[in-house]
Amino acid sequence: MSAYIIPVLFLIVLAASFIRRREPYGGFIDGAKQAVDLTINVFPYLLAIMVAVEAFRVSGASAMLANALEPVLKSVGLPKELAELMFLRPVSGAGSLAILDGIYTNYGADSYVGRCASVIYGSSETIFYISTIYFSQSHVKRLRYAIPVALVATLTGCIVGCYMLRFF
């Protein structure tokens, strides 16, 4: 069922752009062009965090963190391999992307760990980054309950989402 979503969506959009004469080919090229700038902007952040993440993994610190958090994660039904991802996801987009890439290469994209990681990454946001940048140009210094509410909501969503994985 889920395999149909994207091809059908593409077909509808392409057909609609053709019928309404919006030049689908030119539009696609225009959009794709933006990817170069976007990648160049992301690259230094990605490099900095990946150097740290790789060192963190090779040194064994990552395994220690995962083992320390295993009982907590197990109690909510999540595999311990996701400890790093859960930690970095609210803080850094590039960092969690690097972890996600590592999980796919180490455990496979179709393993339970890989699918769980996909749900967590796909259904959450960089909470701390967003709240910093949204208020960056205002006088507001105290965000009060914004971050705790967002963290609790995201965590609950992720746990339920990973639980739902067993039925799909």
């Binding site: 919006r22 959009g31 060192a55 610190a61 960092g95 796909g122 967003i130 995201t154």
Partner: protein, 230 residues
Amino acid sequence: MAIIWLIMLCASLGLMIFTDPAAAVNSMITGAHGAVELSLNLMALYAFWLGFFSLIERLGLSRGLERLLRPVISRLFPSCDAETRKFITMNVSANLLGLGNAATPMAISAINRMDTGDKKASTDMIMLTVISATSLQILPTTVIGMRATAGSANPADFLFPSLIATILSTFIGIVGVKLCAKIFDRPRKNRKAEISTAAPLGNVAATQKPRRTRVKRDRAQKQKRKAVKA
């Protein structure tokens, strides 16, 4: 982020000095190589999805989405003016389509318009932040692309659980903000109302306040007293 990066790097380097100093340089260089490879993969994914999204934009779908969202936004942000609501609507619709880069400037403009010089964030500001921070993206394009790159049999097979997770988290976020607003913002108003009823020429409107909030506050105070005793 800067602090976490520093802690991660220092902790692992400190650890490796004792365990395996030769691995330190190798692992960091491996990480740098990995970053180049990953960003090339990402460039392909971004180009693909951005191309597709520019078709969606040309169809005017985002404008249609904005029209659809308008009534919902005015319910969630009751004390904003029309111009601010427009920015919020644009932010939410861009987030729904996964165009986070387009969404951020809209949110900054909206927050700046809501800014009254107060150091504390207003409920509406918190609502906007929480709605964005609990993720609204319908189609997690980057994840689908990365799974396809990693050779998944069906890269989109996590979509339904992911959708459930993101809808649930946003829903809990909205309810949480409303609840926290009731708990943290209302008592102050009630205290003012009490003072005005105690005064001889008290405000009549205060007696018309719904009783439910008062009961809730009493319960909260009782719990507080219990906590103090314990």
